[in-house]
């Protein structure tokens, strides 16, 4: 495990513990390589008060490589979240930047929830879920909609 990996994750962990952004709660960080984080739907949105769990898995090459992020257990019904927990969000794949952090990813996902106007599954949900590999980073994503 590289020095930069440990140092960076420790710092992010401390930040999240001491000043977590609104709606982000650390759930389980027993393993530094795999975090579980709860996010809470913002007030006056379709997901008001609902709690969802995100699982972050970090490769040794983090933060040069993006983390693998999926919903586990209860998965929100949303046009960009597939029912197997995969998330269609460009910064998790092609547009990842090493300057992004766990907390900025959480905030992006909360804002995706907040701007949603209709609880529906993605159009190609069934087909995708049937074909997809376990790791969403192995999917070739196309990012067509930047409104939600």
């Amino acid at each position: 495990m590289s020095k930069i990996f440990t140092k960076r994750l420790m710092k992010e962990l401390l930040d999240l513990k001491h000043n977590p952004p609104a709606g982000v709660v650390l759930e389980d960080v027993n393993d530094l390589k795999c975090w579980k984080i709860n996010i809470i739907g913002a007030k006056d949105t379709l997901y008001d008060g609902e709690i969802f769990t995100l699982q972050f898995t970090f490769s040794n090459n983090y933060p040069i490589d993006s983390p693998e992020v999926v919903f586990i257990n209860h998965i929100p019904v949303h046009p960009h979240f597939y029912s197997n927990g995969h998330i269609c969000l460009s910064i998790l794949y092609d547009h990842w930047s090493p300057a992004l952090t766990v907390s900025s990813v959480c905030l992006s996902i909360i804002s995706m929830l907040s701007s949603c106007t209709k609880k529906v599954h993605p159009i190609d949900n069934d087909r995708y879920v049937m074909m997809a590999k376990a790791n969403p980073k192995l999917t070739t994503w196309e990012f067509s909609d930047d409104t939600v």
Binding site: I4, K7, R8, I91, S97, P98, A99
Partner: protein, 507 residues
């Protein structure tokens, strides 16, 4: 300023006229300098079916790029690094870059990911109270670097980031600043400064690769391990009118249009169609033709594997008689025997059947000849290898010199080349509409074919040491004749393509 205006207008004109990337003054000078005489010679000797092209080595391409970069850097007055990024963004279309840059500098640079105003090039420095956003290291003693966008990261993170982009993701001209949502491109100089020599080498070879891939007039030679690129000023729309066969310095002869091995005189679109058809059809079609009949209604192929003559098509449920192919409903009570062979409905059914069979027969006619030449070319090469060994033995036992036993090699090369041409004439003919023009084509084809078969036969003759001079004479004479016939056929076909004399059908 007036100088620049002139340049712009001039370039614009050239661009519109030819749609070419670098046929400007400096580019032309460069080409001429290389081998002026060769181009003149080519022009004089070029046959109607040949195209003008040039083969470049990687060094020549690099050299050319550097000149282009320098030229642009001088015109717009910026660092070479920035000029390179701009040129790469515009896929080396210098005229367009300069034109747009003069009109809308800000927009263009923003889109390309360059900040040209920057006074300094990025370099590693130590900043007081610095904290790297990637590794979270902080202190006064850390070497760090920022592009002209100002996003500063430490040296280690930067080089790890760049190495990942180059080695793992295979990126080169699109490596952006590591900061989120910043599209400033990391320039070549910065990369050289930050990554290992090995990685930098990989980076430059990727750059060359994308340069060739971006340029529609440049293609890599498809031969394995060949590192030459061929330049040919042919547009996609020209491919209906000519077959741009080029020969790389490595010896591989291929079509510039589609990258497949030489397929004179058949044009690319027909070649693609033909290969596709052959892949799906040939053997299966043969079997179907022999063993099945078609349902008179839906044309599905049916194999009768037993039972009576009352057929019910599995696909469309049409009921018909296997013997006369007429509808079963008209057979009334005459179950299991058919004496209705001349009834109109059944004659019609059989007619349409035979038409579609004729189509198949036609295809197989051309396919078999096509496949035959392909196979024969292989056999000819094998035969040659055997003969060559024999010749070597003979050379040792007789007084013949090495050069004197070389005539067979040339003859075999001619036969193989002509067989390849003949092969494609059959695919070409398959798509030709039958008219007076085609008759001419077929005559040429026949003459070449006859000549090739005769030469091929000569090659099979037993070689006796005392008659070798005579054989040599015959082989050389025949080879010259065969080459001549091939030229006639190709010239006429090329001329026909140019004049749109050939009418193609979709059989």
């Amino acid at each position: 300023m007036s100088d620049i205006d002139f340049d712009e207008g001039d370039d614009d004109f050239l661009y519109d006229e030819s749609g070419e990337d670098y046929l400007d003054e400096s580019g032309e000078d460069y080409l001429d300098e290389l081998d002026f005489t060769e181009i003149i010679q080519e022009k004089q000797e070029r046959k109607k079916y040949e195209v003008e092209y040039k083969v470049y080595s990687i060094e020549e391409i690099e050299d050319f790029q550097n000149k282009e970069i320098e030229h642009v850097a001088n015109i717009i007055g910026c660092f070479k690094e920035h000029a390179a990024t701009l040129l790469r963004h515009f896929k080396w279309n210098k005229e367009r870059l300069i034109e747009l840059y003069m009109d809308r500098t800000e927009e263009v640079t923003k889109e390309a990911g360059v900040i040209v105003d920057a006074q300094k090039l990025p370099k590693l420095i130590k900043v007081e109270d610095f904290c790297c956003d990637i590794c979270c290291d902080s202190g006064d003693d850390i070497e760090s670097l920022a592009l002209s966008c100002g996003h500063r990261f430490c040296k280690d993170c930067y080089s790890q980031y760049l190495t990942q982009k180059i080695k793992v993701e295979g990126e080169c001209r699109n490596i952006q600043c590591p900061s989120d949502a910043c599209n400033i491109i990391v320039d070549e100089n910065t990369i050289k400064m930050l990554v290992s020599e090995d990685t930098y080498h990989r980076y430059t070879s990727l750059l060359i690769r994308t340069y060739v891939d971006d340029n529609i007039f440049l293609h890599w030679c498809p031969a394995p391990n060949c590192e030459y690129a061929v330049e040919c000023k042919i547009h996609d729309s020209d491919l209906q009118r000519l077959v741009p066969t080029v020969k790389c310095k490595c010896g591989h002869q291929f079509c510039f249009g589609c990258g497949l091995p030489d397929h004179q005189p058949c044009i690319c679109s027909l070649v693609a169609k033909w290969l596709n058809k052959c892949r799906d059809d040939s053997e299966t079609a043969n079997w179907i033709s022999v063993n099945t009949k078609e349902c008179p209604k839906c044309k599905a192929s049916i194999e009768k594997n037993g039972g009576c003559n009352h057929m019910t098509c599995k696909k469309c449920k049409n009921e018909f008689c296997w013997v006369c192919m007429g509808p079963w409903s008209e057979h009334g009570n005459q179950w299991y025997t058919c004496n209705r062979f001349e009834e109109k409905t059944s004659v019609d059914a059989r007619d349409s059947q035979s038409r579609s069979r004729a189509k198949l027969e036609r295809y197989l006619h051309y396919y078999n000849r096509y496949a035959n030449h392909e196979q024969s070319a292989k056999l000819d090469t094998e035969l040659y290898e055997k003969t060559e060994r024999k010749m070597e033995r003979m050379q040792k036992s007789s007084e013949l010199s090495w050069i004197e036993v070389q005539f067979l090699k040339e003859a075999v090369e001619t036969v193989v080349q002509c067989r390849n041409t003949l092969k494609w004439t059959y695919s070409f003919a398959f798509y030709l509409q039958k008219d007076n023009q085609t008759t001419l084509f077929e005559d040429n084809q026949r003459d070449l074919e006859m000549a090739v078969e005769q030469l091929s036969e000569l090659l099979e003759e037993e070689i006796k040491p005392n008659r070798i001079a005579e054989l040599k004479q015959r082989v050389v004479d025949k080879s010259i004749y065969v080459k001549h016939r091939r030229e006639i056929l190709l010239e006429d076909t090329a001329q026909g393509l140019k004049e749109s004399r050939w009418v193609f059908i979709d059989p």
